[in-house]
């Protein structure tokens, strides 16, 4: 396994952004729901590395997606939020208070809970900021839920393909 450096990080980011923008955003399931996969970069980023670099890269990947979609700043904000609170989400979904973070030590259910919480939070932020209408609050919530579920399935597939749970 190639060890991860800033260079490989950038490559992975480029791959994920391209996948998101050119493939997944052209898929519209049930008429209007688009799967969102690129936050896996934030979720599966190795623990115990430079946290500033992690935050900056998260911001950057969100901003890249924003640039392609024309939603300046919205995905960047949401991605940075889940990056900053990743350890908190991790602790919450595993009910351990240790500082030892690894997916290998997790049960599958806890792993899935972590994934779903992250993507749900991400979508909640993205869609509420994007629509920006309090009058449509329930409509947007439904949209967030469905999009999260669909994205969740894609994320699991991604995790299985790259054997994330065994490696990270």
């Amino acid at each position: 396994m190639i060890s991860r450096t800033i260079f490989t990080d950038l490559l992975i980011m480029a791959f994920l952004v391209a996948l998101q923008v050119f493939v997944l955003n052209r898929i519209t399931l049930f008429g209007k729901f688009t799967p969102v996969l690129y936050p896996v970069f934030v979720m599966f980023y190795p623990f115990f590395r430079n946290k500033f670099q992690f935050l900056a890269l998260s911001f950057l990947i969100g901003l890249s997606v924003d640039g392609f979609l024309g939603t300046w700043g919205i995905n960047a904000l949401a991605t940075t939020v889940i990056a900053y609170f990743r350890t908190l989400i991790f602790r919450t979904s595993t009910d351990t208070s240790t500082d030892f973070f690894s997916f290998q030590s997790l049960q599958w259910m806890q792993f899935l809970l972590f994934l779903f919480s992250s993507i749900f939070m991400h979508q909640l932020l993205v869609q509420y900021i994007e629509f920006f209408k309090f009058s449509r609050i329930f409509e947007i919530l439904l949209n967030v839920l469905v999009t999260s579920v669909i994205s969740f399935i894609f994320i699991i597939v991604y995790a299985l393909i790259f054997k994330i749970k065994q490696k990270v």
């Binding site: 500033f52 935050l55 911001f59 300046w72 700043g73 904000l77 940075t80 900053y84 994007e130």
Partner: protein, 284 residues
């Protein structure tokens, strides 16, 4: 300063996170149409809130002045309302003659003290008399139409022949639309309806046409409302229209009237007297 530095170094990650979020928020509110319009709306609302508050404060400071103004206004209104109960001094109203020939009519306001509508010849009495310049042969108008002609006056009262009089009243009236005039009389049956005769048959009529005074009698000014056409038929005896006119003024509910004073009456009378003299000479 040292405290700030320590705070920064301790929470550097958090500060960095906030820094990134601020960049994202700036991007969101500067590049996205929806958020931009929201921001513009909020800014406008805040502006109007602040300036509204300032306005309110200023108007509160002005309340004393406003109050004094209102008291002064109330006082003058009360003088108008209660100050001239009974037969106080009349108010003369000016009518501006558009021909520029100077003023022809003035008006004396008065109130009815006695009224009748159910006889063949009806009369009413008003609380203005010679002292107020009210003399016989002056017209009397109500707010919505003509009411009668003064036939006698004492120092402070005047007797008025109501338009509801069978033989005594003949008023020159005209159709407002076409300008054709005729003679308005009452037949003694309905206190709301008078009859207009002497209008030629070829004049086209419509229910609801306005009838007004035509100003040829020197008693009423031209163009005072009388009523509207309520029905019409051809009078077989004369071959003219017989038009029923519904009076716009309810004679039974008359209260406030205006006496018409023609300032040029003497002059008109003089020139008409010379006409009489000419006719007399021709006959001789």
């Amino acid at each position: 300063m040292g405290f700030l530095l320590r705070l920064f170094s301790k929470n550097a990650l958090f500060v960095f996170f906030i820094f990134l979020q601020i960049i994202a928020l700036i991007l969101i509110f500067s590049k996205n149409a929806m958020q931009q319009s929201w921001l513009a709306g909020q800014t406008a609302a805040f502006n109007s809130w602040v300036s509204g508050g300032i306005d309110e404060g200023v108007s509160y400071l002005k309340l004393k002045q406003v109050n004094e103004d209102l008291v002064a206004q109330n006082k003058s209104l009360m003088v108008q309302l209660y100050g001239k109960q009974g037969a106080a001094n009349p108010v003369f109203r000016k009518v501006h003659d558009t021909l520029g020939g100077g003023q022809i009519y003035t008006f004396v306001d008065g109130e009815i003290v006695f009224n009748s509508i159910n006889r063949r010849n009806n009369y009413f009495t008003i609380n203005r008399g010679r002292r107020d310049g009210v003399y016989p042969q002056m017209g009397v108008m109500a707010p919505k139409g003509i009411a009668g002609i003064v036939i006698n006056s004492t120092d402070s009262y005047a007797l008025v022949q109501s338009v509801l009089s069978v033989n005594k009243i003949r008023i020159n009236a005209a159709l407002k639309n076409s300008g054709y005039f005729g003679t308005l009389t009452w037949r003694g049956d309905n206190s709301r309806v008078m009859h207009l005769a002497d209008v030629p048959k070829y004049v086209s009529l419509k229910i609801g046409d306005t009838i007004e005074t035509d100003g040829k009698s020197a008693i009423f000014p031209k163009g005072v409302m009388i009523g509207t056409v309520a029905g019409y038929s051809v009078d077989n005896k004369t071959g003219f229209w017989d038009i029923s006119v519904e009076l716009s003024e309810k004679m039974g509910a008359l209260n406030k009237v205006f006496v018409v004073k023609n300032l040029k009456k003497a002059e008109v009378q003089k020139i008409q007297d010379t006409m009489q003299a000419v006719i007399k000479k021709e006959n001789d």
